[in-house]
């Protein structure tokens, strides 16, 4: 069974068909790319997938389960986590807490347990700290555990967003332009990190990216969007050779 199966997904804003009859099938463990020019509807696909927008048409299945029209919170609990193109960290909270809040549904104790500092509070907090450090280490952020998220440099903020998403223990990870604003060295490092995350956490990853080096370097398959419609789909090397893709996107 496919990890993600989207069928006939559509949404329009006013008269604009931002996403129009979008289809994709992603297998478990795949590293899949979604590319296309600005305004093609890529972020909108993520917003539909995570319940931020409700589709006017279409069905989204996660591991066979229909998640169409569910709320963002339910969809996260079903196993979808994401990052944002315009970074959305909890800026007034330390780096460590940004990850720990991601454990909200994984490591639990009641509000009263927290206020009364019952033994379970100390146990679960210690558990969370340990797991949080583990994740932060993957992104080389463990030395900044006590820094406020808003004070991190840009590239590290992007990484922290991925770390926070991972904390929710997703099956499917959606990354919206993870390399935006990074220099070539940082991008290279990020590519390795993304690969590591996929292999180590057995994650399925769908990512939006403009950096062709990253896309061709790590994505196994691609879908190209143009004006809300699928322009091409298939193994990365083939798609990038497609003349229609070259004229619509790469040639510009």
């Amino acid at each position: 069974m496919a990890m993600l199966d989207i069928n006939g997904l559509s949404i329009s804003f006013g008269g604009l068909h931002a996403v129009d009859d979008f289809n994709v099938t992603i297998e478990e463990g795949q590293l899949y790319g979604l590319i296309g020019p600005n305004g093609a509807g890529k972020t909108t696909v993520f917003n539909l997938l995570t319940g931020v927008y409700k589709p006017t048409e279409g069905v989204i299945r996660l591991n066979g389960q229909d998640i169409t029209g569910k709320s963002t919170v339910e969809i996260n609990r079903a196993g979808v986590a994401r990052t944002f193109q315009n970074i959305r960290l909890f800026k007034e909270m330390p780096v460590l807490d940004n990850v720990k809040v991601g454990f909200h549904n994984q490591h639990q104790y009641s509000t009263l347990t927290g206020i009364l500092r019952l033994p379970k509070y100390w146990k679960v907090e210690a558990e969370m700290n340990e797991k949080a450090i583990e994740i932060l280490k993957v992104f080389d952020l463990d030395k900044e555990a006590n820094t406020l998220a808003g004070n991190l440099p840009y590239g590290k903020q992007r990484k922290l967003e991925i770390a926070r998403a991972l904390a929710t223990d997703p099956k499917l990870l959606l990354l919206d332009e993870p390399a935006a604003g990074m220099n070539p060295n940082e991008t290279e490092e990020l590519m390795q990190t993304i690969r590591f995350v996929r292999d180590h956490y057995k994650m399925t990853i769908l990512l939006i990216e403009h950096d062709m080096k990253l896309v061709s370097g790590i994505c196994e398959e691609l879908t190209v969007l143009n004006f809300g419609r699928v322009l091409a789909q298939g193994p990365t090397a083939e798609v990038l050779k497609d003349p229609a893709v070259i004229t619509a996107y790469l040639g510009e």
Binding site: T50, V52, S71, T72, V73, N76, R77, A81, R82, F84, R88, L89, F90, K91, E92, M93, P94, L96, D97, K100, V101, G102, H104, N105, H107, Q108, Y109, T111, G114, I115, L116, R117, Y121, V124, N129, I133, L136, K137, D142, K143, A145, N146, T147, L148, G150, N151, R164, A165, A167, T168
Partner: protein, 359 residues
């Protein structure tokens, strides 16, 4: 420094910060009590001790909504009013049926529950909406509660509790006792509030609020403040946690109301108006939004100040204004923050704050 050490450092800093806050309260109590015992305090000032505790609890609890959950509430006095009326009604109904201390403890719990219940009632519809609707609704709520309490008549007789909106509408049986008398309010409530009880309630409030902030639910609340969409994306039910902060805050405001009401011979709604809600908000803003210790200190200074300046009659308002400005600068101006963090850095206990300031 490795991550494990960083976490240890953070833990000890959090602990130290909480201990400083509790410590300030305890020291304040000891100093004031000593002054009272040695007669070094004016009787007017003595009369302010319970109100100071009331405002500290109100300010700390409002900061939970404004600073921690990031919502604006303009009706905090309304929740105090509910706590005040519900508890004094209870106290008068029970009368001598219970010993003083258990009765007062029950009154506090009832005040907290009633105010907290109304917090949930208002929060459920309003906190679902994205946007600053809470400010408008709480503003209206405060006024409605005030006006409602102004026309309520209530009493008790052998047949149970009776409520009405006019004096004559309240038909009490033989030997019945009228308790709430419309605009005349409730009189004859035993004065159970003391400075000591006030301080204990402050400590309990701080315990609840500080421990909540440093817990799983507290982090969830702050995440909804910092970024609602991101919070949802990691599975945080935003409305539920905003509601939690709001209703706990309302319940604690109710406690402040109980303390306030059991310090008065006659309770009327006059004090629970818009101005009081704003005054408490001023404490929170001046003390630093999200800074629990700051709102506590601001509440004490600004409540005691007018009385302390009484001797300077003509300059009183001038000095009051200057203190307001200084407090504001001390809490908010970048240069003052940097200065403060340097000072705090030198104190063995101040490091947590210092690091907060740097950022």
């Amino acid at each position: 420094m490795n991550a494990a050490e960083l976490i240890k450092k953070r833990k000890s800093r959090d602990l130290r910060s909480s201990l400083i806050t509790y410590g300030i309260v305890v020291v304040f109590y000891i100093v004031v009590q000593t002054m009272v015992n040695t007669g070094h305090i004016s009787s007017l000032m003595k009369g302010l001790l319970v109100p100071i505790c009331v405002y500290v609890i109100a300010a700390v609890s409002l900061n939970l909504v404004v600073g921690i959950s990031g919502e604006l509430s303009l009706g905090h006095a309304g929740f105090m009013c509910l706590g005040a009326y519900a508890s004094t009604f209870f106290t008068n109904v029970v009368g001598d049926g219970l010993p003083e201390l258990p009765r007062f403890i029950l009154a506090i719990l009832i005040g907290a529950c009633v105010a907290g219940f109304f917090g949930i009632l208002i929060g459920i519809p309003v906190l679902r909406l994205k946007g600053d609707y809470l400010a408008i609704v709480t503003l209206a709520f405060g006024e409605i509660i005030k006006n409602l309490m102004n026309v309520i008549y209530a009493g008790v007789d052998d047949g149970g509790l009776h409520f009405a909106t006019t004096d004559s509408g309240l038909k009490l049986g033989e030997g019945g006792k009228k308790i709430i008398k419309g605009a005349l309010g409730i009189s004859g409530t035993p004065k159970n509030s003391t400075f000591t009880i006030g301080i204990v309630l402050i400590l309990i409030t701080l315990f609840i609020v500080l421990n909540l902030i440093n817990s799983r639910s507290g982090r969830a609340i702050m995440s909804t403040r910092d970024n609602r969409i991101a919070a949802e994306s990691i599975g945080i039910p935003v409305t539920r946690f905003k509601l939690m902060a709001f209703s706990i805050s309302a319940a604690l405001a109710g406690v402040a109301g109980v303390l306030y009401a059991h310090n008065l011979a006659t309770l009327t709604v006059k004090k629970f108006d818009y101005n009081t809600s704003i005054l408490i908000l001023v404490f929170v803003v001046l003390g630093g939004i999200g800074n629990i210790r700051g709102s506590m200190i601001a509440a004490v200074i600004l409540t005691a100040l007018p009385e302390m300046l009484r001797g300077l009659s003509n300059y009183r308002m001038l000095i009051y204004a200057i203190v307001l400005i200084v407090l504001m600068l001390f809490n908010w101006a970048p240069a003052a923050r940097a200065f403060r963090s340097r000072i705090l850095e030198k104190l063995p206990f101040g490091r947590r704050n210092a690091e907060k300031e740097e950022s």
